[in-house]
Subunit: 408 residues, 2 copies
């Protein structure tokens, strides 16, 4: 079950980057659960990672290694079926054994291989299975491996999330392709569960990091499935430089703006794709809050609505239960909120104002507004000019089923 | 469905207080949905109310009237089936029409009648039906009406919540009885959905207020069903003074300590009763956090666990998925948390330490620990001496069903 048609479009190879997707038999025999990304020499890579204090071993290792190689790793190694989280010192050693084995096979420094894991928390990583699958992965590397990789990083996802786009600047053509996964434990805080984006632009690492942090803030950090920030979140951006442009180092350059827009568009597309395939999702919900005193208070209102189990079950039932929206707004912690000024819209139907049901509103309008798979909840606070948008899903029987049965 | 046996025990009349429970036909014909409490002259009454900015009309009116009569109201009028919330100016007028009608019938000041409502949000209060039922209510008043009243204030509750106790001090006997309701939209913030507690002790209003605020903080404010703070929360404490003790005004008196202990015991009993009957509840879960730097950070960890949909669905499945507990602790926002020091216990079984599964732990132990209806999750932070306890439930198919079908 997922919300909306899927149209990945054509997934464009990014010159300078190759991918492989093979089976290591981590959880189920035959499932393709190991993805390898190979970065051509000269590529720059930056990342944003979970802020969960219980971050997984591969997150700790990847962050340290990325610094050690000054943002020039050679390989990103991703496994599903096991998160290598809550595994303590052994987890760190296990992650390093996998990356070390690949480094030895390829003749790069151990820190030039960054590890990523997703899956069940608290089980030891099956290191031997992963190491044994590495030769196959190295043989399978190819430029057009994006769709397979999007499948390979899935866990409870029901479909792959991927997107490509082309952009142009100063007479040169560029390309950007990205994939992402994650359907539960999704309330990213710096990044989503796992996402890999690559472009052939040549970009200096510091600028690349700033671009990724900003794009993640406006995309992955604006979605929530269940409010549970993952232990393994990581979003990586690779700039291979294969396009041959002079190294982009300044925010004044026209290319900076073209790249920034492309990256934000692609990250929003991937983030929305995660929401559409959220665990048990039957609705794709946009929560837009306007007229706040600050962006933070707009986000506070939007996330309080997006996390409310009562709002989410009403969305599942297509019930225009606007009282639950008012109750959520009222507990969002806004200072001196004048509830009499708040306006609430469902798909452009004004349902509440002056602290109560709008005079123009009829239950039939509400039912009609809630019927589609895609719902926009718009809140007008009318106390400032800030605004924020968050995307989320409903709360269904299937969410409970998926998460009650997850380890069985 | 509710967790555990129910044993209300004997519900003791409180001299100086009478109750009536009648039908006003607010939502369903014949359902007893109107409760009236009559306070003998000389009684003192204090309350704690929701902090939701969208508080309901009766909350606004009750707070103002309680001040206007200097904590000496004559009647508390409670209806179910309609929350009179999200009803704007009309809601305020409707609440005052009901209290005004009762004031006229009984010859008291309009402000001596405090209104309370619970039920669906956003529908106009059926004022006429309530007013027409008032004469019956006045005729039905009796000292032993507590159990009927506990039934009368229920909404999605499956069983009444009530408790009585006796206590003694300085050779005198006292009594205390209380009732509460609420099964969803439960994350009290100053009080629970609705609770009424009475004692025959004579207590000065300021001291009575301090006692109630403290007791509510340690009971109703420590439970959560779904994290959704209600618009209608109110907890009222009546001290009729019928026991004849000299007015209690000082925290030095032995009676102060006896009363304080009795009130906290009774409020915890009622609060836990709400959790046991939480919407869709199949587990009663105690989350105890020890070793924090402050009580607030212990509460942050406890509520993050108690609100996590992933933890709650695992509890529903009786799945000892301790990785989700670690993930919840990790996102609770504690500064400089050393995850290597955190210990996690399920019903006294050590399941995680040093950031990973305990060496002594086996999955069989975890399954056995999760099997009972009553679960204690204990977190040892080992970074200070503060502690806090929160009570909650699991997240089941029935929670989704109840809240998806609520208005149909």
């Amino acid at each position: 079950m997922a919300v909306g048609e899927q149209n990945l479009g054509e997934l464009l190879p990014v010159p300078g980057l190759r991918l492989a997707t093979v089976s290591a038999g981590i959880k189920k025999p035959g499932r393709r659960d190991l993805v390898l990304l190979e970065l051509a020499p000269g590529s720059h890579c930056v990342g944003v990672f979970t802020r969960n204090a219980f971050c997984a071993a591969p997150v700790t290792v990847a962050k340290a290694s990325l610094r050690a190689v000054a943002n020039r790793p050679a390989y990103l190694l991703v496994n599903t079926g096991n998160a290598n989280a809550g595994t303590g010192e052994r987890g760190l050693a296990d992650a390093r054994r996998c990356t070390g084995a690949l480094a030895e096979m390829t003749g790069v420094a151990p820190e030039a291989v960054l590890p990523f894991s997703t899956g069940v928390i608290g089980e030891p990583l099956p290191v031997q299975k992963i190491i044994e699958a590495l030769p196959n992965a190295l043989q399978d590397l190819r430029a057009d491996g994006w769709l397979d990789a999007a499948h390979g990083i899935m866990t409870t996802d029901t479909r792959p999330k991927a997107h490509s786009l082309r952009f142009h600047c100063d007479g040169r053509d560029y390309v950007m392709t990205g994939i992402a996964k994650g359907a539960g434990m999704i309330r990213p805080n710096m990044a989503t569960m796992l996402s890999y984006v690559a472009t052939d632009v040549a970009v200096a690492p510091a600028l690349l990091q700033a671009l990724l942090s900003e794009a993640a803030e406006l995309s992955f950090n604006r979605i929530t499935i269940d409010g549970d920030t993952s232990t393994n979140d990581a979003c990586m951006l690779v700039a291979t430089g294969a396009a041959g442009n002079p190294l982009l180092e300044s925010t004044d350059a026209p290319l900076y703006h073209a790249l920034r827009e492309a990256l934000q568009t692609l990250c929003v597309e991937l983030a929305q794709g995660l929401v559409r395939d959220g665990e048990g999702a039957s609705k794709f919900v946009t929560v837009r809050v306007n007229g706040g005193r600050s962006e933070q208070e707009c986000l506070d209102v939007a996330f309080t609505i997006a996390h409310s189990p009562l709002v989410k079950t009403a969305l599942f039932a297509s019930d225009p239960n606007w009282g639950r929206l008012l109750a959520a707004i009222g507990r969002a912690g806004l200072e001196a909120l004048d509830v009499g000024r708040v306006g609430v819209y469902l798909n452009e139907v004004l349902i509440a104002e002056n602290g109560c049901r709008a005079a123009s509103y009829s239950e039939e309008q509400g039912v009609a507004a809630m019927a589609p798979e895609e719902i926009v909840i718009r809140i007008e606070l009318q106390r400032g000019s800030a605004t924020a948008t968050v995307w989320t899903t409903d709360f269904s029987y299937d969410y409970v089923r998926i998460n009650a049965e997850y380890r069985t």
